[in-house]
């Protein structure tokens, strides 16, 4: 189905099932432990063996010798695969470093071997017996030091152009009435999802099946085939449940390749899970950024110049963390510039993490906006409202499809009691707590991608949906079922959803908050096909056929839906394909984030007291799972603001705090009260579903709202995340 004109009224608009706060249909499987994650596929193939990875212990250099003899002789060992005996491997399109390194080492904990044994313990014990000699080389591990050597990266689909410029930024900034010129930093961060990367691989002749934990099945299948040099038709990926990914499972990682190689060498199905420390240094992370923001404004607070430059680092051949993109769109201003620069760092590979670029970019931009509002003597909401735009500021002929950001501010301010905020910092004290409020805009684009599905009406009247779309804990099973139920006029219980299998039609996958809108639009397209097939078989005129309450109705005729399949199942398969609505209109999602914090006047402990996000993100397909996405993202934003930081060992080139004891993320007790409000919206430009994403909107801006609240409470402006206690204590009143 081509979608190139705005959606008109369609069956989804009935909102009988869609738009309802439905419990997750896969919830009982998860709470009872019946949902099978990759490493738990114990009975899908017999005779499974275990692989254990060996990671490089240097960041850069070469292996000079590798002694496998003791490991080979160890009990239970079946085989050991290294780059030397793995056969020819080609780097995947989505990988920057090789998944199996050697003799050249590109980063710390790059996999250099997998030991396959009868049991997990035997594999692990033997892996510890492998002795490796290295010739270590000096590397570049410090972004601040590498900043001056950073270069202009190539333009990319995701990152955009390295430089943008509109009007005369330099001139307008120089002559502005009020100016801000500040530098902000965000640290390297880890996805820290609960389920580590894991794969079970089995070969049947030249065909490879991988039960794995992956967000993007089609990308994964293509990269596995490419890496191993086999046809795509020889590879099948199965990933029905994913225990969180946040971007770290967008791409094939070492677990999948090591399992496939181990299985090929041993002639047995092989399972590999990355031990927790490897999920920090062997996989990808969100790269640190340095960001310079300049804003010039007139006396009444209109932005006349806005500039945002971002520096980040990655391995040679890698890509930048593009922190500047929101600045191109969010606020008005005639003179604008952005620049993205990329340095070479020999740390583990940088790549997408929840709202890549946008999350750290908004942490800096929205902090800068708060500072600028203060300089101008304006309320932060008033300053933002004054600089609201209805059009793409770089291209005024291009309107937003919808933009209710000001409405988000208004509703949020009212609900949160923003009028009680004192404009000057450090005015509110409750016992030993300094209390303050902060806000920030949330802004994340809505991305469109082709997505397909197959829907079958069985002889028993059950509707089965199949698509390679994944549910990474987000609620996809449920919204896909809701879509099919709405379209086919059946109750939710009559829908079976099967996801995450590369033998199903290719979907948009889960990433970039594009999954919900695109995958359900694909299901919509397939249901339209199935409805036509049903009408045709029943001899109905398909244009006026109504599907409701388990029946198919046309004129005064009414037939149970199941009857259409009585003489054999019917199938509809299609995909949604987009025209240029996203080019003619800017599609984005918006939020206003509000945070209240207490800062201990003596120890600088920060306690978040209340959080509110008001979101405008098109039609909300399931308010319950959407809310969960937003509160999860807000929580992650608190982590980014207050504690999450991969500590870099700048001599040895690795992340030191590579486990969940050292890499602290917020716990429930840190987040006492969160509220999420969705505006009642439907965006006809986005898809027939009229929906947009929310999963990343929730993290964009929230970190800055925390930072701004801390400033309002304590009077200390911290521009270097995370805002740990030691960065605050010096400025506290008791210590002045």
């Amino acid at each position: 189905m081509r979608f190139d004109t705005p959606a008109t009224t369609n069956p989804i608009d009935q909102l009988k099932v869609i738009g309802q706060p439905t419990d997750r249909i896969d919830g009982p499987l998860k709470t009872t432990g019946l949902a099978r994650y990759a490493y738990e596929q114990h009975d899908v193939v017999a005779n499974q063996a275990y692989g254990y990875p060996v990671g490089a212990t240097i960041a850069k250099g070469r292996i000079t010798a590798m002694d496998l003899a003791a490991a080979r002789r160890a009990p239970g060992v079946l085989t050991i695969v290294t780059a030397e005996n793995a056969g020819k491997l080609v780097k995947g399109n989505f990988n920057t470093a090789k998944l199996l390194g050697g003799p050249e080492i590109e980063h710390y904990h790059q996999a250099i071997a997998v030991v396959v044994a009868e049991t997990f313990e035997q594999a692990r014990a033997a892996a510890a017996l492998i002795a490796v000699d290295y010739a270590e080389e000096a590397g570049s591990f410090d972004l601040a030091a590498a900043r001056d050597s950073a270069e202009k990266p190539e333009a990319s689909d995701f990152g955009g152009p390295p430089d943008t410029s509109v009007g005369d930024f330099a001139g307008a900034f120089a002559s502005a009435h009020a100016r801000l010129d500040q530098t902000y930093t965000t640290p390297d961060q880890a996805h820290a999802m609960m389920e580590p990367h894991a794969t079970l691989a089995a070969w049947e002749g030249d065909k490879l099946t991988l039960w794995t934990s992956n967000q993007m099945i089609a990308w994964g299948k293509a990269d596995v085939a490419r890496t191993l040099g086999i046809g795509k038709d020889k590879v099948r990926l199965i990933s029905p449940f994913v225990g969180g990914g946040f971007g770290s499972k967008l791409f094939v990682r070492a677990d999948a390749l090591l399992a496939a190689l181990g299985a090929r060498a041993s002639g047995r199905p092989v399972k590999v899970a990355l031990p927790r420390p490897y999920t920090f240094n062997n996989t990808t992370h969100r790269p640190a950024t340095i960001q310079r923001i300049r804003i010039g404004a007139s006396a009444e607070g209109r932005i006349t110049a806005i500039g945002h430059e971002g520096w980040s680092g990655d391995l040679p051949g890698g890509a930048p963390e593009t922190a500047v993109n929101q600045t191109r769109l969010i606020y008005a201003g005639e003179n604008r510039m952005t620049a993205t620069r990329l340095a070479v760092l020999h740390l583990p590979e940088g790549n997408a993490m929840r709202a890549p670029g946008e999350a750290p970019g908004m942490m800096a931009l929205e902090l800068a906006m708060d500072e600028m509002a203060e300089t101008l003597g304006l309320d932060p909401i008033a300053f933002r409202t004054l600089n609201e735009t209805e059009v793409d500021p770089e291209n005024p002929k291009r309107p937003f499809s919808q933009r209710q950001l000001v409405e988000c501010y208004r509703i949020g301010a009212e609900r949160f009691g923003w009028d009680r905020r004192r404009p000057h910092p450090r005015q509110v004290r409750e016992g030993r707590w300094l209390v303050g409020m902060g806000m920030a805009a949330g802004f994340r684009n809505n991305l469109l991608a082709t997505s397909g599905a197959r829907v079958r009406l069985g002889e028993d009247g059950m509707v089965t949906v199949e698509t390679d779309m994944t549910d990474i804990g987000t609620g996809t099973y449920t919204i896909v079922a809701q879509t099919a139920a709405e379209m086919m006029g059946v109750p939710l219980e009559s829908v079976i959803v099967r996801l995450g299998d590369s033998s199903f039609p290719v979907s948009a996958g889960s990433g970039g908050q594009w999954g919900a809108n695109n995958s359900t639009a694909g299901v919509y397209a397939a249901c339209v096909k199935l409805r036509e097939a049903v009408a045709q078989r029943l001899g109905f005129n398909s244009s006026d056929t109504v599907f409701a309450e388990g029946e198919v109705r046309s004129g005064n005729r009414s037939v149970p839906l199941a009857q259409a399949a009585a003489s054999g199942a019917l199938t509809g398969e299609d995909s949604i394909e987009y025209g240029d609505l996203a080019k003619t209109h800017q599609q984005s999602t918006f939020a206003a984030h509000f945070v209240e914090v207490g800062v201990d006047a003596f120890t600088a402990e920060v306690r978040v007291r209340r959080m509110l996000a008001v979101c405008a993100a098109g039609r909300i397909l399931n308010p319950k799972s959407a809310r969960s996405q937003v509160i999860g993202a807000m929580t992650m934003g608190v982590g980014a603001a207050l504690m999450e930081e991969l500590a870099v060992d700048k001599r040895r080139g690795f992340f030191v705090n590579h486990d969940l004891a050292g890499y602290e993320v917020p716990v429930h007790a840190d987040i006492p009260h969160q509220e999420v409000v969705f505006l009642d919206e439907a965006d006809p430009m986005s898809s027939p579903m009229k929906a947009k994403g929310v999963g990343e909107l929730g993290i964009c801006g929230v970190g800055a709202a925390v930072a701004n609240a801390i400033y309002n409470a304590s009077g200390t402006r911290v521009r270097h995340y995370p805002i740990t206690l030691d960065k605050l204590i010096g400025g506290l009143p008791e210590n002045v």
């Binding site: 692990r124 510890a128 031990p275 120890t603 600088a604 306690r607 206690l725």
Partner: protein
Amino acid sequence: MYLRPSTLREACEALVEAPAAILAGGTDFFPALADRPPPPRILDLSRIDGLDGLEIIDGVLRIGARVTWSRIARAPLPPCFDGLRAAAREVGSVQIQNVATLSGNLCNASPAADGVPPLLTLDASVELASSSGTRCLPLAAFLLGNRHTARRPDEILTAILVPVASPDATSCFLKLGARRYLVISIVMVAVLLEVAEGRVRSARIAIGACSAVATRMPELEAALIGASPAALGSLVRPHHLERLAPIADVRATADYRSEAALELVRRALRRCDGAAA
């Protein structure tokens, strides 16, 4: 080899045959392995009778080696143990408290072990058993450094012995971390205060996570004797804490630890004063 003896004697004999790694709740033991295989000989204490007692006999609380944090938190103990019980509720999470032991916390000898400061203020000792007999060491003599104790490889810590302080002693424990729960301490402070006739009779103060081993603060303790409880907070001066040697790490700078320790001590003293009132 995985040994699960059912008597202390067998356990001690096993340690004479060959050294073994001792396993209690395993909450330090297993994480410390990281991705290495377990040691070749493990001695599991879980079947040994007589190590799970928790009772006061002749004015001494005896905490058996297998007593978990949860049991301490729930035990009906006099107020001088309030600090220890507060620590019990802040060690890891409830799941950790249900399996982890106090004895394991001491033997592991982390600078951030939450059990140490309260036990130091209680003047606790540890009982060590081996096939050649039993000895007792004051806790301060048992803990020698970061991950370093006076335990000989053939010894098992069988109990922690704590003299019960006077019934009007009050105690408290405060812990500061980067988040609200399940957190490794940046600083923690334990205080035990005895007040008589409106004056401090004795003050015992210990600070953890600011030196390789948590330590008592004798200079500060001496400075508080005879003072009015309400004034205690204001008597604490930076020089009182000169014994501390905090490090900077991913959680906080050394300077931060020093400042926060000062504040936490003041706060703990006020808290104890409040409890006494």
